[in-house]
Symmetry: C2
Subunit: 235 residues, 2 copies
Amino acid sequence: MKPTVEIVLSPLLLPLTNLKGKTVVIIDILRATSTICAALDNGANSITPVISVEEALSYQSGPYLVAGERNGEKAEGFDFGNSPLEYSPEVITGKDVVLTTTNGTKCIHAAKDAEEILIGSFFNLSTVVQHLVSSNQSVVLFCAGWKDQVNLEDTLYAGYIAKALSDSHEWESDPVEIALDLVENAEDDPTEYLTRASHAKRFNRLGNNIDLGVCMQFDAHPVLVKYQNNTLVSA
Amino acid sequence: MKPTVEIVLSPLLLPLTNLKGKTVVIIDILRATSTICAALDNGANSITPVISVEEALSYQSGPYLVAGERNGEKAEGFDFGNSPLEYSPEVITGKDVVLTTTNGTKCIHAAKDAEEILIGSFFNLSTVVQHLVSSNQSVVLFCAGWKDQVNLEDTLYAGYIAKALSDSHEWESDPVEIALDLVENAEDDPTEYLTRASHAKRFNRLGNNIDLGVCMQFDAHPVLVKYQNNTLVSA
């Protein structure tokens, strides 16, 4: 029997899925997991995800850079927001970062029962797939969504992963079938496809017309990111 | 401003959506809402949805027919299961039915804050759409799913409704965009499309290779079904 693929479409649906013994891929394309991959590939030493703004600020007296957003904008008093473009090698090499975001960071904590926790984004799509195929474990693709609502970009990414696992893994799962449908409609131009997403419209209202295209750069940061000892590191 | 369309993809996601002042369409294509439409169009006087098998059985001493299923099979001691084919005019005309199902009936109760509750299935698709367009209220399409998991057939139906409301209503909603993608992929042959659904595979394992095709008969039972005074009636 092949290992399985499941998709958690929203944090509210997580109780339906048993994570024990499985590899969980955390997905928050716009923008937490994209930013994490960019920062670690650009030389950051570690990223510690925390749930609240207050907890993040408590790290400020130490050697950490404090980063993150609420409702899509940089939180007050933070060194960085949540755009991958802020985390260039010049500013991030060798640094330890504490990160909190509206959706993505809490999912990392919610997945603690899993055997292995990875961070997925289009930046490291092929790297994640190669690891999942070779490790041959059952996989849960955990979409962060937006404030617990199912979103288009995370579901689409989960579909790309599932499609790439169709030889090595198996499933009987309607969420997987749904995600594969999105891939079928998006494949010609996934960035254009995602202009329909609520989050793309939210970016436009905030005057950000760059980050959607940035986060859709397939394999731009081919780094395998694991959650180990409460911290995200490049494996 | 136009009225809005929202989709609740699973009962677990219902807390994200405010139902006040809106029309809710309950969707459980395989098979509760299909069965309800067939029974009322075939002459049943009323259908009272109840949550538990025990509650349903408590009606058995009265003038009611007791009907429903658990896990896709007729519950013990019931007069009818949950296949639309069982509810022919010969057996159902003038009858009052008490119904309980794994997924659909509990959603009707969960939607009680809404201004209006309708029952949707492919059997009455055009009838539901005509009512929603002419009443000009904001709409919530509430998918029952399977044991709280998002499913393909209910999401697909919600997409058909949303597509038909694209002139009269508006949305900024990723669940609606996802449902529209399913319609785009299914439109050529929606019954064939739904053979991918977990529920279709469950039917096969139970030896039921009829009900999927039956429940996909568009506009076969053009009845408007409303929930009023704890009972479903043909309006």
